[in-house]
Each structure stands twice: as structure tokens, then as C-alpha cells.
Point group: C2
Chain length 446, copies 2
């Protein structure tokens, strides 16, 4: 062994030594918010064919039914349940976002921790602790290969999610530092998922595997399977194979003093995150101007190159709608809201929205930072109003409040068909930290 | 859709349209030889802790026990059985080799086909047909990214094996051309496995996943899951993410007229393939000279850069022994054989072999082609003999005979503890093509 510790070795020691008592209340609360937001997103799509198909496929080979699938009436083995819940949590990209990497931290990690805890009787605090450590390793490894990794074609939540699931499972299973190191290395040999497949259902399989295979890595490490010491940073290892110009030092710099989950963000709208400033600005201008959409002659939306590249498009389907400058602005001015239903096919076809989309003009403004937008509304009567939003609701500088997260959870649960039980589900989610085991939470979510 | 067909589309149409009746007897026989060799290799390591650990881990989450694990008393669900059998088949790298890519074609593909056939009652001919098509796609996709893919750190059998397993499962399940195209695309989002991890047990998990996840891709495609049309060759797709300078045209050039399985090779010795010429030359010189090892003063082994880089090393353990010029030569002259046991720890520690290894000198000869060796033995009495082997037994130009494959199978089965049943196992393997279902073969192998 080299005298310089390996990245996986340092992570393994950090994870194995971490104690819940040493985690600050703020971090504990952020972990709870992350899992609550994840569960809500998963419940919202419980009836979606992508989720019910995944459940049907996994049932064909699933083992003993010990772990709940959110919003479903059947249980699966822990790996298979984690697979399906990961898919559900991320299906609409309405889940959480670690902005530096564009990783959705919770979807691969929380389901693995919850499924394993349900099977083996771990407490809610153990789940939160395992989740926190898993998300930390997931995002730190992502930091080391960003942005080249994604630009090369790797769907970073799928590829890095497996590390998070492996670490969460390792912590719950009580693996030693060395075993955790090996679990991370085994996860490296399972890391996969392509950006090219993002517009297709194949994306879901890559996501589900992150949760499922990460758990498998920990189960193998528990039974003595080992990985190469430098599986992450070695010359033929993960970072170089999957990253252009990786910066491996970022994996361990400031470990334990700076936490990535503290920089987790939640989406108030199920749209691409760079469109949130557009929606916020339009909602504010709508309230300020107090006029009907018909009174508006035109709307100009200025933003940086990314906003223009992604968002200046014809809207033909739901996928277009979620990344459209024109649809975002139309929702703000016409409907005064931007919920899940407002991006679905009936909204795409809505004549009032279509007419308003035609009034919206996109304009490049390189002076605006990433994620910001300046919206100018010109009325038929000649008035004009302009608003710039640089920190939309849900960004690091303007986080969603607990109350806003609750409203989002209840809205999602209702969309999934659980309106009557949604308040009980919400209470159970908030109660995770105090729960002696996760059985009652999972029973509430079934 | 583009007017130019996509790679996956052409493959999907080819696989769906392929008829067993149109496959030549020579190809059918080669498919049988491949599977027979694979089964023998797997039986040989049935008691190896790497295999029994994999079985123990998979049992934790396995579903209904419908598929045999070679040489074991328990069954698993089809995906889990394929996972363990793939690991066993490849554990010692004693299985088959597609030289252009260094892919071991059978390990990820044959177990998936056999497990699915056992579960669902498909015939032996269907298994051979599915295997043939799976191996074809696996190797062709490998051709397109070689050698940059491996050089970048990708363990090509793991990464491409998933395509083979997906295609074999797709053919058995009767997927349409379009569904097979999607299965290939879904497999692309699951492709993983690192060269850095090859000296560790993490390699096995990557291998097992190729068999397991390929099958999962087909099961998802069967239920309507789709992938991006250009999952393989798109700008953010598999070939560019995982390959440096891929040549995608190789995937489909000559499809159906040139078969990769016709270029499959089998190892007579469980050593790195470039050491086979060394062993063959030493065995022949031993027979020719007819002297005891003590009568030999020195042995010089000349070969190309790869042979020298890989093989000129101190032998400390089994792994070193399998890629050692010195150990290969010592086995040839001292033992006159090079079987599995001759590369294990007792052989590494054998004083006679250690003494002979010290007499062996490696020398670069750039005039020799890859895989060739010139061995010169100098006797204490002053005599000298030289032999050059360019086509060792097991190479494309000097393939192992059926009889040699049978001897290897029986040797392997004996090593696994199945000496008494080995002849029946061998007969069942040769009888695969005529078998109305694989039940009796699999029962024989349990």
C-alpha cells in the first residue's frame, strides 16, 4: 500500500467513524427534508406507467417481499424495492439537485437506506445518518469529475448514485472502514448511465441500478469481496475512465467540515432548474401588474447562454414544456402557477397557453449569471414592467421553506392518488428522526 | 428518425430475423464448443470462495429458485443464477477469448441464455441460437471501440458482455426487432467494469452484472421500455463516452456473412494467452531433448514487447504465475504440463519450479508477432536447442480439437470435485443442440 492514503480509504474511514451524535441539528434537518421531498416525488408518480412497469419487471425475479414500494400494494426484496423507488423519486426530475454537479442526491441513496432499514429493523436516525454519508460521498465524487464527466455523456446521478447507495448500505450494515473502502471500489465497477438515454425510459434503468447495485456492492464487501485500492483514482480506474481531467483531491478536501447536503436544493416547479427564475419573475410581474393575459402584448425573457440553448424551442410535448422559456412564462402569466399538471399534455395543448407562448421572445444576456432571468412585460396599453430574479425560490440563496416543502409533498401525494392519506404520510416523514424503526413510516407509504 | 439506420436498429432487425435453420453446421458446432468450454471452466471453480461467496450474497435477495448454479445444490432466480455462473465461468480467465477485442464471449452470454431457457422451457437449439447472436453483437460492439476502450480502463468483457446477454435474452423471449433495438440501448445504460479492478474480486461483480443486467434490459424492453435511438453511436452515447475514437461502422459491417464466434478461441492452459506459445515451445523442447530439468543450464524466452512487459516478473502468488514467462517455461520443462493446479500456490512455492524459474531469461525480439515466442534451451553439456512457436495450441490457426476440449472439460470437472459425474456432464453438454429443453442438462450440472 502507498503511504499516501487512497481516496476510497479516506472515505471508508470517515464513514465508519462517523457518529450521529456529532451531526449538527441543521444537517439532520436537511437530511430529513431531502428524504421527505424524495418520498413526495415518488408518491406523485405512483400510477405512472414507467413506475408500474418497473415494478412488474422486478417482480419477475424479486426475492422475499420485505421492502415497501412507495404507493404500491406489493413489497419486493430490498434491492428490487430500492430500484423501483429510485426510479419513482427521479422520474420527473422534480427531486432535489446538488447544483455543482447536477446530481439528484436522494433518489439513489434514500431508497437503498429505507429498504435495508425496513428489512433489518434499523432506526429512522440510522437511515438519516446513512443517507447523509451516502449523499456526501456521492456528491464529492461527482465534484471531482465535473463538468467533464457529464459533458462526455455520463448521467452523473446514475454513475455517482451507486457510490451513495453503497456507502449508505455500508453504514447501516456496520461495515468496517476497510469494507466500506471496498464497497466504494466495487461500486466503481458498476457505475453506468448515459446522457444520450435521458429522453428515454432507459434512463430509469440506469437510475434504478444505482440504488440496487450500490446496495449489492455493500453486501459483497460485507462478505469479504475486495476492490483494487485505487479503484477511483488509479491509472485505469473510475475517475480517468469516466472523467475528462478529474480533480480527485476534491473527493476528500474538507471532509467532515463542509457537507454537500447543506448545499442541496429542492424544486418548487417540475421544470428544468434554469427555468425557475423565469417562472418566479413572471409570477411576480403577474401579481404586480394585475392584468389579464390578453392585456399583455409581449414578454421578453433574457438569460445566459444555457437558458437560451435549452429553452428557446417549439413545445410539442411534456418534455419540451419542462424546458421551455415560452411555456414557463405562459404558466406564470396565464395560470399563476407551475405544478406538475401544468407541464402535462393537456397544458401543452391548452389554447390560452399556446397563444401566450407565441408572445414570448427569448434574448441572450451574457451579463446575467447562470440560473438568473430578466423578464420584461409590455402591455397593449403601452405600460412596461421589468423584473430580474437571480435567486429563484429553491436556489441555495432562497431555499424552499419547510412549509413550501410540505405543500409540495401534499400536492405530489394528491397527484399520486393519496390525497386522503397525504397528511398522515407527511407526519410520518417528518417523524423519521425520532422513529425507533421505519416500519410505521413504510406502512403509511404503502 | 434519421434515414440512415441506427446501429442498434440494424442489430435488432438482424437478431429478430435470424433463423436457426440458416445457421451453418460449423457455426452451430462452434457455439456448442463455446458453451461446453464455459461450463467446464465454471465447474472447475465451483468450490472457490469467490463463487460460493457470490452465491451466498445473491441468495439474500434472490427470487423463486428456477435456475441452476453450476456445481451447486441450490437454485436461484434466472438473473441471479446468470450472475453467479458468469463469475464462475470467467474466474480464472481460463474461458474463451475473442482475440481482436480480448473479450471472453461466453461468460456473460451463455449463463443468461441457459438460465432463461431453464426457467421457461426453451430448447437447446434455441439456447445455442440465442448465444450465437448474443456473442456476435457483444464482439462486434467490442470491435468498434477497440483498442481505445480497454486502454482507457474499461474491462471489455464486462462492458460489452451486457449487450450479449441482452441480445441472447431478447432472442429467447421472442422480442421484435424494435424491442431488441431498445434492449441493446437499455444495456448501454448499464455497461460498466474497470480494468483497475481486474486484480480484485470487484472484477467478478462487474462480470456478473453483465449477465444479470443484460437480461434485465431484455425484460424491460419486453414490457415496453425504450432507449434513445442512437444510444450506441449518439453524441452523448455509449461509444463516445466509453471509447476513444470508436469506429461504429464495424458494428454492422458484414453482419450475417462474417461471424465473430467463428474466431473464438479456447485456452489449453489457464495462463495469460500470450504465454501459451512459451508453454508449447517448452513442452516440445522437453520432449525433443529428453533430459531432466537439472541438465538444463539456462532458457532464453524471446517475444514481443507485450510478452516482455507482462511476463518478465517476480512470481509471488497465483496471479503472478499466470502471467509469468519464467513460471510458464518452468512448467514446460519441469512438469511437462500446465494445468490449473500448476499455477496455484503450492506450485508457486515448489522448490524445483522456483529453481528452474531462476534459470529463465526474457529477451525482447520485435521481429516476432504478437502471441509468438522463441525458446532457446542451453544444456550443461553444451548442447543447445531452439524452437519458435507462432501458432500455439488454442490460437485461431491451431484451434483446440474437440478431443482436447473434452480433456480440458473433464480436468476442470475433476478439479471442481465432479470427477465421477464428469463424463455424464460432458455428454449432456455435447447433446445440447438436440435437447428439447435444457432441464436434463442443468440437472446433470447441479
Amino acid at each position: 500500500m502507498s503511504t499516501t492514503p487512497y481516496a476510497g480509504q479516506i472515505l471508508g474511514e470517515f464513514v465508519a467513524a462517523s457518529r450521529w451524535e456529532a451531526i449538527s441539528p441543521a444537517l439532520r434537518h436537511e437530511a430529513t427534508r431531502s428524504i421527505l421531498n424524495h418520498i413526495g416525488c415518488a408518491l406523485g408518480v405512483a400510477q405512472d406507467p414507467a413506475v408500474t412497469t418497473a415494478l412488474a419487471v422486478m417482480r419477475q425475479t424479486a426475492g422475499a417481499p420485505v421492502a415497501t414500494v412507495f404507493g404500491q400494494s406489493v413489497k419486493l426484496d430490498a434491492m428490487s424495492a430500492a430500484f423501483v423507488n429510485c426510479i419513482a423519486g427521479n422520474l420527473l426530475d422534480y427531486d432535489d439537485t446538488h447544483l455543482q454537479t447536477v446530481i439528484h442526491p436522494s433518489a439513489p441513496v434514500a431508497p437503498a437506506a429505507l429498504a435495508l432499514a425496513e428489512q433489518r429493523g434499523f432506526s429512522g436516525a440510522q437511515v438519516l445518518h446513512a443517507f447523509l454519508l451516502g449523499a456526501e460521498v456521492e456528491c464529492r465524487i461527482g465534484n471531482a469529475v465535473s463538468p467533464g464527466h457529464y459533458a462526455r455523456g455520463w448521467h452523473i446521478t446514475s454513475t455517482c448514485g451507486g457510490f451513495g447507495s453503497a456507502v449508505a448500505a455500508a453504514k447501516l450494515l456496520g461495515l468496517t472502514a476497510g469494507q466500506t473502502w471496498h464497497a466504494i471500489g466495487i461500486a466503481a465497477s458498476q457505475s453506468a448511465g448515459l446522457v444520450e438515454n435521458l429522453p428515454s425510459a432507459a434512463k430509469n434503468v440506469g437510475m434504478g441500478n444505482a440504488a440496487r447495485n450500490g446496495m449489492l456492492a455493500a453486501l459483497f464487501a460485507q462478505q469479504g469481496y475486495q476492490a483494487a485500492p485505487a479503484a477511483i483514482e488509479g491509472p485505469l480506474g473510475w475517475a480517468r475512465a469516466m472523467g475528462d481531467a478529474p480533480d480527485v483531491a476534491q473527493i476528500t478536501a474538507g471532509l467532515g467540515s463542509r457537507w454537500e447536503i447543506a448545499r442541496n436544493t429542492y424544486k418548487p416547479y417540475p421544470a428544468g432548474i434554469v427555468f425557475h427564475a423565469v417562472i418566479d419573475a413572471c409570477l411576480a410581474l403577474r401579481a404586480q401588474l394585475g392584468v389579464a393575459p390578453e392585456a399583455i402584448a409581449s414578454v421578453e425573457v433574457a438569460g445566459d447562454q444555457l437558458l437560451q440553448d435549452r429553452g428557446d424551442r417549439v413545445v410539442r410535448n411534456e418534455r419540451d414544456a419542462r424546458v421551455s422559456i415560452h411555456h414557463s412564462a405562459a404558466l406564470g402569466f396565464v395560470r399563476g402557477r407551475a405544478g406538475v399538471a401544468d407541464f402535462e399534455l393537456p397544458a401543452v395543448a391548452d389554447a390560452a397557453l399556446a397563444a401566450f407562448r407565441a408572445k414570448v421572445v427569448a434574448r441572450l444576456d451574457t451579463s446575467l449569471p447562470r440560473g438568473a432571468a430578466t423578464v420584461t412585460a409590455r402591455l397593449l396599453d403601452g405600460r412596461e414592467a421589468t423584473l430580474t430574479v437571480t435567486a429563484p425560490v429553491g436556489s441555495i440563496d432562497n431555499p424552499m421553506s419547510d412549509a413550501a416543502l410540505e405543500a409540495k409533498f401534499l400536492d405530489n401525494a394528491g397527484l399520486g392518488g393519496f390525497a386522503a392519506r397525504a397528511p398522515a404520510m407527511l407526519r410520518a416523514a417528518w417523524g423519521l428522526e425520532a422513529a425507533p424503526d421505519v416500519t410505521s413510516l413504510m406502512a403509511t407509504l404503502a
